[in-house]
Subunit: 424 residues, 3 copies
């Protein structure tokens, strides 16, 4: 049963200013236009497909957005139990919809009220304001155009996957050549172009580098001379063996750590997606590979001034991440990613972290959302889970209520400001 | 503290009709005759042995059943704390025993009252009625005689372990030859005999195939021609290497998937027993092998029309099973098996599944019992755990009470009817 | 919310006599002299370092103990949230400190009051009395001097790491030669010296052997003749390959099992520390290696009369340890070690063990402390967690309150007496 304390904490935390340090928002179109855009989130589509919805109708991108909702109406009853569905209904209500279910009789009303609200002039600002989100990080590709970006709302973050995972692709090199108006004919040139691009992002106020690494990624030192030869093979269009490619990739990651060190830029690392588990629909899964976290032991020791902010996409390594965060001053634990974003998983993770790790090392939450509407659902779910966890700690006598609120504020605001050096 | 809501849910769920989709009941003798049969369940004997009971007395099968209880009386106080013991006392009370402990002074009373009750004319029907179990699945070997089976109470399920794991044994072939009055001299003949036998079970109303796979089993495609040569070696009494045998086994499993596809038969897969961990007493253990679930990725993609219903015997892969169930329309998660059948493990598993997976994909419970008396204990324990889990979800505001009851009913009844295509 | 039952259980358990079966106390100086000794516990220093305290000041052993506290004052606010900090404040209050925070204004008061209390004549006896700890096990090296040891307070336990893990070190042999006034020129001589030393400890009332094994340790049988040749290589100062050394180590462990069998001595095995994860500060980590527990399957079967008492330093193998304890009469589960010593981890572990394992097989708690002051904090935290877990079991109806208290007493007292054969 929820205690009065938990509800009181939820109310207080609900008033706090919040930073969302990882999203996939587009700065020009941060909100959706149609409820179908929101309903078409892969979290929902996966549930509809597993519940038996006709795949052709589910995945038909040629239909107008709201047609997805129409087609899905018969399947909605089957997914009502999940907290993702709770999130969707939370969004609907925030958009002005009044009913508690969606059916043949009212789905058009929902489409209408949602569009009206979202197409209002100041909607995205109002929406973020209503949940006290003062800054949302973007996920920017190296060639992304930040012209006209609302810097009162968004903070750039440089996504670097292609410089590590796709380093042997021609397109990676060509994009860098175009960006830096240079010609790349060696590893040195390559790094120089990356350095220049990263520097440009720093100049634009980017607050972090970010990368999502596959579960079998292994991080280790590879000598410059070795990597240079490997990259020469790439430039000469010679095939790298799997081992050679792995060496080149980790060398590139370490090069990025060096640049983070130089630019005083934190690095957000997302570990554990297993891509395309479902072949036909392309759904991603997660991995239970036990080496994901510990492979960063060397880098954490080697780059004490590079803040590494980790998220892990499974439940069996959350304890290890907490203890790494307790062990290394430059290691931070962040949020609850994707398949771990359920109240019954979030609460134990919070308890584990708050009982064992100094709270200045914890980034409580990020939305990972593509439209700010999902941010509304996710912050509400998180705040409830956080309140439940903190209430349990207070009720068991390990912390006072006042400190619990300080901890919450640090996890949602202060730590983001301090770790990412935000100038607010 | 249990909330009023949890107790109310328990009372309501306790009135629902239930299907038990996995048992080891014998259709001719579904109930025990003596309390010693029930007390002799390996769940209890293992606890007595670890608590120090003399192994000779514990394992002496030459004694009459109730002698086990007599010999165990001094050790009972040591196992009173487990929920297995709670289950046993729950059975005793259902059989008419009034005391709350068992000791030198009353064990004979228990034997007497239990025998009287169980030897009553309609006992097994009354017992199943008292817990609203309308159908219990059997576990039938290919040559099992279903003559006279009470089809109002039992549903056949074809156990196929021998056609995969013991495919290189002569006895497997001989049994099939006898069953089909055929001679098997090739893989083609073998499959034909299996197909005929499976077809016979479908004709008898079997609702599923079932198999228990060892933790190191790996499922992958092996070409027909390769498998045919391997089976020729078997027929010629030549030894297969470990690798060859593994290829033959997975080929057989894939052949069964093909038959399930043809017969529209769901497949129940039990993963993770590690046999004979205790050498002297033969107790089985479980495995933490992380590859058990993900080895079915190919089969889940390849046979979209074959419903695969998984149970896993450990706690570290429950999250992966939930997410697989969410990912694949043909993947289902079932119950809480053996070493995971404890309230403190069941409740988090239910929360994880109900918060993340559309509820039509979840089979809540099965008893796995050998006598219907243990079914009584296990369904009561499960309903209490389910009530606790659903109450928590309702109290945190993610679901209404009415929906919670719908979810419970689906997990205990509707989903069994729909997944296994029961005609009730 | 904590229930009245939980508080009542906590109060009752708080009155029970307790045995602490694993500590690193020094029998001549079991208590600290300065608060700085207590504050300098690596649990606290690790938190200060991850929270950003200047490493030079943190690790400077040339400073007087209380200077650490002085230097740490600015960093204390950052670690106030952890339950380790709760433990430290609990100690401060037990020493007579009245404030609820430590800051520039009062740290000297704390130093003063703490020293006065701890330097009192009977402090350590009073302190242990106040928490009802009647016996604390020591961790004694083979050459440790037990002269004058207070046998009303302490029980020797023979730490055997060097006889297994450092068996190829000259110092190990030399120490044994000195202890036994013998010359070791063969494996036979070596074992004879170990046997004599172990026998001496048995004579001194040692209640167990103890060892901490690294996560990659593998236990298996190695023939005497093989091991003898390997040890000859050691004596001849020839390098052993990694494989040879692994064979020699496991042979030594099995030799110790044989001695435990002969001397009727239980063996305490601690599994899972991963040493020196943090290179500069030397912090240890833990391992998720899944083979740690199951490698003892052979030894558990082979030595049915040797009581093996296991602790595991991670969360993903706790289920396996519980089921091993349920499976093998000679396997016992003990306490909550180090990185698992947090309320949110302890409670689920207790539930798992108490619901699945006969309670006579469970050792509830040990302090692992270096000074008896930390014992105060750790037993209080444990009793609260135990009360919460038992209350949940009682409230869900699986056990009565009276039995819950019996279980608690067994876990804290009776089982220690019975398993270690203490003569109290």
């Amino acid at each position: 049963m929820r205690s009065e304390l938990s509800k009181r904490l939820e109310a207080e935390i609900g008033k706090m200013s919040i930073i969302d340090p990882h999203t996939h928002l587009q700065h020009r179109t941060p909100s959706a236009e149609f409820i179908g855009n929101i309903f078409g989130y892969h979290y929902i589509k996966m549930e509809l497909s597993t519940a038996g919805m006709d795949v052709e109708k589910l995945m038909d991108d040629s239909l107008p957005p709201d047609a997805l909702l129409k087609n899905a109406v018969p399947f909605i009853p089957r997914i009502r139990n999940t907290t993702t569905w709770w999130g969707f209904m939370t969004i609907c209500h925030a958009l002005g919809f009044k009913d508690t279910t969606i059916n043949e009789g009212n789905w058009q009303d929902l489409c209408k009220v949602a569009s009206e609200t979202m197409q209002g002039d100041n909607w995205y600002k109002e929406a973020l304001d209503s949940i006290n989100i003062k800054r949302s990080f973007l996920t920017n590709l190296p060639d992304e155009d930040l012209e006209g970006c609302d810097r009162e709302a968004f903070v750039p973050s440089l996504r670097t996957d292609e410089w590590v995972l796709e380093i042997s692709e021609e397109a990676t090199r060509e994009k860098l050549e175009k960006l830096t108006k240079s010609s790349i004919s060696s590893l040195k040139d390559l790094k120089s172009a990356i350095h220049e691009t990263a520097g440009r992002f720093v100049g634009l106020g980017a607050a972090s580098m970010a990368i999502s690494l596959p579960p079998d990624f292994r991080a280790f030192v590879v000598a410059e001379a070795d990597a240079a030869k490997l990259y020469d093979k790439v430039l000469n269009k010679k095939r790298l063996t799997d081992d050679e490619l792995a060496r080149l990739k980790t060398h590139m990651l370490y090069s990025l750590f060096e640049m983070c060190d130089e630019f005083n830029l934190p690095f957000q690392l997302m570990l554990g997606v297993d891509r395309k588990v479902h072949l036909k629909l392309g759904w991603d899964g997660f991995s239970t590979d036990l080496g994901m976290m510990k492979t960063f032991r060397d880098a954490l020791n080697r780059f004490p001034n590079v803040k590494m902010v980790f998220s892990i996409l499974n439940t069996i390594l959350t304890h290890e991440l907490a203890i790494y965060t307790k062990t290394f001053a430059n290691c931070y634990a962040a949020g609850h990613w994707w398949y771990t974003f359920y109240p019954c998983i979030i609460k134990p993770m919070i308890l584990e972290r708050v009982q064992s790790v100094p709270y200045t090392k914890l980034i409580g939450w990020y939305s990972d959302s593509y439209y700010i509407e999902w941010t509304i659902a996710k912050i509400k779910l998180y705040i409830r889970s956080l309140s439940e966890a903190l209430a349990e700690i207070v009720e068991e006598g390990y912390m006072g209520e006042e400190l619990a609120l300080e901890v919450a504020q640090a996890m949602l605001w202060d730590n983001n400001v301090n770790i990412f050096g935000l100038d607010l």
